[in-house]
Symmetry: C2
Subunit: 293 residues, 2 copies
């Protein structure tokens, strides 16, 4: 596994095929591309790597496509857990692809192949991969079903797909005030404005079945923090949740869903849920494994 060698079969050059970021696909990543957001994504994946990657390992030589790798938060974990698999990572953003490649390299693992490509029209032949891995991607797409059908096309018969997505409707905390619930709902609405479903986790089984996959397993991967796990509680609330909600502030205020005072109160109240002994926090992602029969 190296960067230049062992490339998968490529139908045509994605750099030529997909230059604009308009049209279908994840054209507007709702949380933005700020440095703070990049740091948030890395911290999130460190906290969650065991929780989400448990059960996912690829054998030596297996051809694995990571679709929508972003800045490489999951790529680093995939490479560490399956050092001899042959990874190909694609993302719509050229800048993210460059960051992902650098992240995997600096982690000391062989980097695999990184390509800019649209998940809806992948530059690979039918059946080019043994496995597909998708994490935190479908929630940002206009038509996740179409993306899954395209991923099925590039998967060989008998190949498997692993999908991990969050569900922002699964989240609750204590103390839960009206203001903290409001800022949370603002984030869901901001994503819905783009036509994207941040509550997609609960839909993984019907989505995968609708795309023609045979679903083997699907279930929640949850995190719950309280005074018995103060480090986890603080990490969840202050490194993942609050920074993520903050990415919706500008749009929420512009849309009139909240004013500055409500926003400040909501964030302060959310932060309180990260403080023991009173605070508690629950969130669940969903992880599904399915096969192309």
């Amino acid at each position: 596994m190296c960067d230049e060698g062992k490339k998968p079969s490529i139908r045509d050059n994605p750099e030529i095929r997909r230059t604009g970021e308009s049209g279908i696909g994840m054209t507007r990543y709702v949380h933005g591309y700020s440095k703070r957001e990049m740091r948030r994504l890395r911290e999130q994946s460190a906290i969650l790597s065991d929780l989400l990657h448990d059960g996912t390992r690829y054998e030596p030589g297996r051809r694995v496509l990571e679709a929508g790798c972003g800045v490489g938060a999951q790529s680093v974990i995939l490479a560490a857990r399956s050092p001899e698999a042959r990874f190909t990572a694609v993302d719509l953003s050229a800048e993210s692809i460059a960051r992902a490649k650098a992240a995997v390299r600096s982690s000391g693992h062989a980097a695999g192949t990184f390509l800019r490509a649209d998940i809806h029209a992948l530059p690979f032949e039918d059946g080019a991969f043994d496995s597909v891995f998708v994490c935190f991607v479908l929630e940002h797409l206009d038509d996740p079903g179409a993306a899954l059908r395209e991923l099925k096309r590039v998967l060989r018969s008998g190949g498997d797909i692993t999908v991990i997505e969050g569900d922002h409707g699964s989240c609750f905390w204590h103390p839960e005030t009206a203001a903290s619930r409001r800022v949370w709902e603002c984030m869901i609405r901001a994503q819905a404005l783009h036509g994207h479903d941040s509550r997609i986790g609960r839909r993984l089984t019907p989505l995968l079945r609708g795309a023609g996959f045979s679903v083997r397993r699907c279930g929640p991967r949850w995190v719950y923090g309280d005074a018995l796990r103060p480090g986890l509680l603080d990490g969840m609330v202050n490194q993942i949740i609050v920074p993520m909600v903050q990415t919706a502030k500008e749009r929420a205020l512009a849309a009139g869903w909240a004013d500055e005072a409500v926003w400040r109160r909501g964030i302060r109240d959310l932060e309180r849920s990260g403080v023991p002994p009173e605070g508690t926090f629950f969130y669940t992602w969903f992880k599904a494994e399915a096969v192309k029969e």
Copy 2:
């Protein structure tokens, strides 16, 4: 363990001390006492017994208080899992106590002791029990912290308490429509009208710590159903959730939170979430184990 023998020490006769159902405590069980509700409680406990009771067994001779036994849905499971422990069950309702006693007897287990008593003022000496078990009770109390302090009083030093409570704010489903979310929220509001917290699951750790217990474990016990588990999905939605929501109908319509048409649509939409291949459903209870040090 038998019904008449081996009674715990009794401070005074609860039949004399607590005759009215006014004042503090679970004076208005929000879901009512209809035959349908009794059946719902039994079916719920059958579906959930492994999920909720896993990890809970009591050794022979151990003196266990089940506080708020209701119609005995949990009492039957407790007796089956720990046939040689010495159970005492109390409830505020004389009718429920009679039903619980009959249910345990007809299940073929030795019945233990059944007493009508108020969880806030128990007719037992300090330290009378080795263990306390509380399931689906705190959510129906005006002051769950006061109840926990009273339970701590009747527990010996080193004794343990197990608390299981739901969290109605944890629930989500697919397809989730505005009407189905509305009827669900009506049920939470109906309970809140009584000053009771149906979202108490997330508060178990701070509540137990606030009452002076040392919390050893606390976490979600969830159920998730989809097309891969059609029986579980149907059981959850149609035997537990929809009948439970229906208990709030009268109050919701009287309060003007919904009209007949919205209610019908909401229930129909909730029922759809129980139908594969599209439907999915998630709910979590919380189970906590704590010690009186």
